[in-house]
């Protein structure tokens, strides 16, 4: 027979007790283990400092990048110039132009991977197809782990990772701070060719100090007298100085919290799989009890109708 509502709730309540008990335990345990520190930077963290006020928009860095990374120049727009509209699987580094509607304010700007302290793409990746090197902090791609799900593209607030949209063996293409060159003591491709030193390479600590010196030497020259990347989105290794507002040159207003930090409630709920395990045991107990009732009900029906019971 069908249970009354009161009985049903009583069942649930009985099931809920162990959940509560276990909930208290698991709530106490993570506090010790869950001292999640904001990810910082290793002292070896490699970095770029791009100063938009120094950039003359010559795009030499785009050619330098293609050459250093053995990428075919993307001449698809006019068949002649290497002038891709955006980062794509031929283009790990790009120079763009921002112009205000009244044409009075303008700036060139460079886009490549920011190598975040706590990268959203790395948090998104299922099997560590993208990883952040512990020492250099460079975020790089591993083709033997990547499933090609493109979650990194959805997650990156800077729209940096790109996907190869052609062929049966597509790759994720992104700036890896020329780690094949820096390992040999050389500078990244974009840095070596820059005629005005608009982009320079070094350790993050040193470049951050350099950026702050420039601000100090030229008060009022730079937007809000601050360095983009010092704290934005939990901090990025690549740093920017600009005379126009950062959001005009492709640098979103991210706040101090990293993007993956938005998952912290999820991570708490799944800690040690304790909560799911308790939930499973509770549900199994309730269902087992109700299963007995249901079977009893089915057998009674069978006696009445003579028809084979259906589970």
């Amino acid at each position: 027979m069908a249970m009354t509502r009161r009985e049903a709730f009583k069942n649930i309540a009985k099931g809920a007790l162990p959940v509560l008990a276990a909930g208290c335990v698991s709530a106490a345990v993570p506090q010790v283990a869950h001292a999640e520190e904001a990810p910082g930077f290793s002292p070896e963290a490699e970095s770029l400092l791009y100063d938009a006020t120094k950039c003359v928009g010559c795009k030499a860095c785009m050619v330098g990048c293609s050459t250093a990374n053995n990428l075919e120049p993307d001449t698809r727009v006019d068949g002649l110039h290497q002038a891709p509209p955006d980062l794509n699987y031929y283009t790990k580094n790009i120079i763009k132009l921002y112009k205000s509607d009244d044409q009075k304010e303008w700036s060139y700007f460079k886009q490549q991977c920011m190598h975040c302290a706590d990268p959203a793409c790395v948090a998104a990746c299922m099997f560590a197809g993208l990883t952040k090197d512990e020492k250099s902090g460079v975020v790089s791609w591993n083709g033997s782990k990547c499933v090609g799900c493109r979650y990194c593209e959805v997650a990156c607030p800077f729209s940096v990772p790109t996907f190869q949209w052609e062929g049966y063996n597509p790759k994720i293409v992104k700036c890896e701070l020329c780690n094949h060159r820096t390992a040999k003591g050389e500078k990244p491709g974009c840095v070596t060719v820059c005629p005005t030193n608009a982009v320079i390479y070094g350790k993050r600590e040193a470049l951050l100090a350099e950026a702050k010196n420039r601000i100090k030497a030229n008060p009022g020259k730079y937007f809000e007298n601050r360095v983009y990347g010092e704290e934005e989105g939990g901090g990025t290794q690549v740093l920017y100085l600009s005379h126009v507002s950062f959001d005009k040159i492709g640098l979103p207003n991210l706040g101090k919290e990293s993007i993956p930090h938005r998952l912290h409630i999820q991570h708490m709920l799944y800690k040690y799989l304790a909560l799911p395990a308790v939930l499973y045991v509770t549900m199994a107990a309730v269902i087992r009890k109700n299963f007995g009732h249901h079977k009893h009900h089915l057998l009674e029906e069978q006696k009445k109708t003579g028809l084979r019971p259906q589970l």
Binding site: A123, C146, V147, G148, S159, W165, A284, N290, H293, T305
Partner: protein, 416 residues
């Protein structure tokens, strides 16, 4: 009015209809397109770009349709945990629609990803990035579809063997006994896993940050996303039952329908309250009155879903046409909601735009056709759709005349 007492196959109608062949043709065409897609890549065969890196194969076939296919989970919880005996009669429909939605969704995932051969890492837990919500989805969805959901769908298959394949009858009986022993544990897993992955599907877009419009982007997105799946599951199950009445004149058990109507409406009221409370507490209600497409989308969802729920409470629901439309409104509204965070309310770059191209749409449609095809064959061959004991006896009598060559062991009453 009928009383639903057991599943009865849709008998006396041919399986190989014109519709069957039309669907088969579409599925075959989709198969060919799939092979082309694997060879030439995603650029030519889809409207996806680096800005909208996820297209309808993921956002619609997986994220929307598994929501619609949550009947096995949502109706099941009411039947098995809250012990609502009446709902056991519609469980087989709910479970079948769920399985087909998940199975075709998994296939679509495999077609969507660029390097599917690397998916084998999923069986090596020490290679998992447990921080990734997509990993949680991948593990839970594949586990759910291939173990508990599949097992829950096995009883009608075993019954078919018992009735119509005397050779394997003993084996099927043995399997039935084993399944019965583990069933409660299977069922519990069948509720735990969807709770986890249906909420993680919402958690996916937490990493989308502010590029997901603020009416949808909230720390509670996972909770709101999984609760939307709950009423979508009810709507899908009820639509399947109403369509069965329309197509094959199957009787409706109004008592059971009323339970479904009530639960669906109440789930929606609670869901809408949760959604509005979230928006109000975050102080973003103003954006719902901005004069832009996001506000329009938000109200479209709300009107369809909440309007459907109010219709399910009104007296006019006794009219089956009205009831059907109410469930369509709920289903369409809920589906739009499930599509919004990844697509309709997602603006990854200022002028980025996505619309599925023709090949992408055809491939998407062909795997939906596969699910429909499998559904049509299954309800005609297996005891899925609910009917009365009397209907069962009529079916047995009919089969005895039409297919005397079969020993229909058990179709007719067993003597004691």
């Amino acid at each position: 009015m009928t009383r639903w007492e057991r599943g009865v196959p849709v008998y006396g109608v041919p399986v190989l209809t014109r519709g069957f062949w039309a669907l088969t043709a579409l599925v075959a065409f989709g198969g060919i397109l799939t092979l082309i897609r694997e060879y030439v890549g995603l650029g030519a065969t889809s409207g996806m770009t680096d800005a909208y890196a996820w297209g309808i194969w993921k956002t619609f076939n997986v994220m929307v349709l598994t929501g619609l296919g949550s009947g096995g989970f949502a109706v099941g919880i009411a039947a098995w945990i809250f012990n609502n005996q009446k709902l056991h009669q519609v469980m087989r429909v709910a479970l079948l629609t769920s399985f087909l939605a998940y199975a075709t969704g998994l296939i679509m995932l495999g077609i969507d990803v660029g390097r599917p051969w690397n998916f084998y890492w999923v069986v090596l837990p020490w290679h998992w990035n447990v921080a990734s919500p997509l990993l949680e989805v991948a593990v839970c969805v594949s586990l759910y579809a291939t173990v508990p959901l599949l097992l829950e769908n096995v009883p009608p298959l075993l019954e078919y063997v018992i009735y119509e394949q005397p050779k394997y009858r003993d084996l099927a009986l043995k399997a039935e006994k084993i399944l019965e022993k583990v069933f409660p544990f299977v069922v519990a897993l069948a509720y735990l896993l969807p709770m986890m992955h249906q909420s993680s599907l919402g958690a996916l877009m937490l990493l989308g940050g502010d590029r997901v419009h603020t009416l949808w982007q909230t720390p509670f997105l996972p909770l709101i996303y999984v609760s939307a799946a709950a009423y979508l599951g009810y709507a899908c199950t009820m639509l399947a039952l109403l369509l069965a009445k329309l197509a094959w004149k199957r009787g409706l058990d109004w008592d059971v329908c009323e339970v479904m109507n009530k639960i669906t409406a109440n789930l929606i009221f609670a869901w809408t309250a949760l959604r509005f409370a979230d928006i109000i507490f975050r102080g973003k209600l103003g954006t719902a009155f901005a004069f832009d497409r996001f506000a329009a989308l938000f109200w479209l969802e709300t009107v369809l879903i909440l309007g459907g729920a109010i219709a399910l409470k009104s007296e006019r629901r006794m009219n089956l046409g009205f009831l059907f439309n109410a469930y369509v409104a709920v289903a369409v509204g809920g589906m739009i909601y499930r599509l919004s965070p990844t697509t309709l309310a997602f603006q990854p770059r200022p002028n980025a735009f996505y619309f599925p191209n023709v090949w992408e749409s055809l491939i998407s449609l062909s795997y939906i056709a596969l699910a429909v095809l499998a559904y049509l064959v299954a309800v005609k061959k297996l005891a899925i759709l609910p009917a009365s004991n009397e209907d069962w006896n009529k079916m047995a009598a009919y089969e005895k005349v039409v297919r005397p060559e079969l020993q229909l062991t058990g179709y007719t009453a067993v003597e004691h």
